[in-house]
Subunit: 422 residues, 2 copies
Amino acid sequence: MAATVASSTVSVTELARAAKAAARRLAAVPSATKDAALVAIADALEARLPEILEANARDLSAGRESGLSAALMDRLTLDAGRVRGIADGARAIAALPDPVGEVVDGGRLPNGLDFRKVRVPLGVIAVVYEARPNVTIDAAALCLKSGNAVLLRGSSSAAHSNAVLAGIAREAAEGAGLPAGSLALVGGGRESLTELAQLEGIVDLIIPRGGEGLKKAISAVARVPVIYAAAGNCHVFVDATADLGMAERIIVNAKVQRPGVCNAAETLLVHSSVAADFLPSALAALRERGVELRGDDRVRSIDSSVAVASESDWAEEFLALILAVRVVDSVDEAIEHVNRYGTGHSEAIVTNDRAAARAFQLGIDSACIYVNASTRFTDGGEFGMGAEIGNSTQKLHARGPIGLRELCSTRYLVDGEGQIRA
Amino acid sequence: MAATVASSTVSVTELARAAKAAARRLAAVPSATKDAALVAIADALEARLPEILEANARDLSAGRESGLSAALMDRLTLDAGRVRGIADGARAIAALPDPVGEVVDGGRLPNGLDFRKVRVPLGVIAVVYEARPNVTIDAAALCLKSGNAVLLRGSSSAAHSNAVLAGIAREAAEGAGLPAGSLALVGGGRESLTELAQLEGIVDLIIPRGGEGLKKAISAVARVPVIYAAAGNCHVFVDATADLGMAERIIVNAKVQRPGVCNAAETLLVHSSVAADFLPSALAALRERGVELRGDDRVRSIDSSVAVASESDWAEEFLALILAVRVVDSVDEAIEHVNRYGTGHSEAIVTNDRAAARAFQLGIDSACIYVNASTRFTDGGEFGMGAEIGNSTQKLHARGPIGLRELCSTRYLVDGEGQIRA
């Protein structure tokens, strides 16, 4: 049950209670103070680069000893450029509009009461993440900017880096006037994660950022609200009227531009009337970029070197250079396929047919539905939110990128002159 | 595991799967068809009054035999006037604006993509409720209007009434063009409730409307999202500068106008500088209306006939003519009391001091915070939402009255001309 903040040791529950007390004060802190705190964090990270790199070197050395994969080692690695990038990220979040206090609805009721529905912070947000130490600062900046206290729980592989990053951020934030307790790093093993996930009434939201293992571990024990960063089995559908050149550029971009992320495409659906025209060139372009192809019989009748897709391939989030390919006979069949096998993340149709575009956008139950654009745009930065803490495929509270507004709740403020109910 | 729809018997899971299929079609049904369906339900209820009363008589007779309390018998009872009221309620919901398709955000991104964030139905909503058979129609009308399929699970004490009401509603709705399966009544015992609450990916939301026992039963087993209708330990704070006549009218209204509901006041806080002026008259007015008073020492030093409040009284939702009363020395102390003992529902300050009003509204972490008005206004109808399915004190998704918009999710629709991500 041990937890680590810089060098002191306090229990998870104590840290969370302190965060709750800080959150009450933080909710009323003006934007200017919060922004100054984020800029102070950014400046301190750059000023204290040697400490950060020294701590990171210790994690990297431990990682080498324990045989971390090259990919994980890369995610773990900090250097001057990456630390500058992290600092610039915090400055960019400081420059965003403050969501707190935003009036999202309001009016005068027939009885003369004036009501406003205003955005308020959620309170205490716990972010649980894996190897990347940059999340320590990204998550802290987003939570603090939205007026929330933040409990950070990184992985043990980045323990030294995270401790130094969080320590620097905490000192800078408190120095700039944020309440003590607004930011804390939570350590400990699996049992401390369980403790955190069960602090009903204290922790207002947990956001796990990591793989399926982490999600399952939290889902099994959570009693506080959780928004799961999404799995994305995303689809691109090439309709009968598609511009085939555009369609090829979109599926290549959606599959290969960054295959390990949730908004990358995993399945290509092609209308049967253009399959013979489209597939030879598109599959060659994909193969050229190292994509392994798995298709149904109709795809394989056009290109016999495509492997046989199994039923499970349609439901798989490969997160790799693998693409499932299927021929369908109509936009309705495409919609049915996506609703059946998809995870509700991001889907795209390439078409020139207005009715097909509309049917696809209305008929598919996913967070983001594109016409003639790559699925890779589902991202808080791309959507103009400035930054995101993850992507949600759940339907309640936040669907799609989770930015500053999604880290808030609302409250009704009602002003009267003695109104009572008849 | 048996479930009852009118006279047929199907499993909960089968009903839910049928509802899921219906929901996909219902999401695209035009407002006019949905509105016509609600009006058809209202007309059919009035036309088939004798059937409804006959079924209700059977529930009432069983209730008498099993010794239901007078209050529960009253809630269970239907008559021509109440059925007309239920029908009018459905017509009023038909007349509300359709939340589906509403654009809540949108714009053009720097890369030329046009995005719209639009309201879409959640999908399948299960409403679990206790004795009142009118909820069968209220809940169905709100869910169908917002484009959601609805699974209704009433209590066994109203089984005959609910079966006839749901049967009439289903026939009328399907006759007016809503997809088969859009509305179903789920029967069975506790195990069918568990089955319902664990249908991940099929049931999109469960709303329990009932007492703490029901909430605990669902919370123990739920794997699908739940919005709990709220408990309300609501406060009225009479500040130093309050108009004392207004303050008395407000606390009397908040306490006695309808004591058994969640937005009724349970605790009165009074600033010490006006306690001696305010309390004698206010407590007399409350006592005259049958309110039992429980106070702290300072209250009892002003009126010794007030009973001693125990620590647990501050945290209690009495839902009865009982009021806890405490003297505090400042608005900050009042805020602290409310944040410590409240349930985050509705609170009121009576004051003429702008700074006190602002501090109270910013400092209290509740869904609705009133200045110079009764807490009893927290209600979808009063707030201009037309109707509500309950009140939420949770911070995610819906806080305050749950109306048509709160029964929806959102989706991003993004239109491009071949954009790919660099």
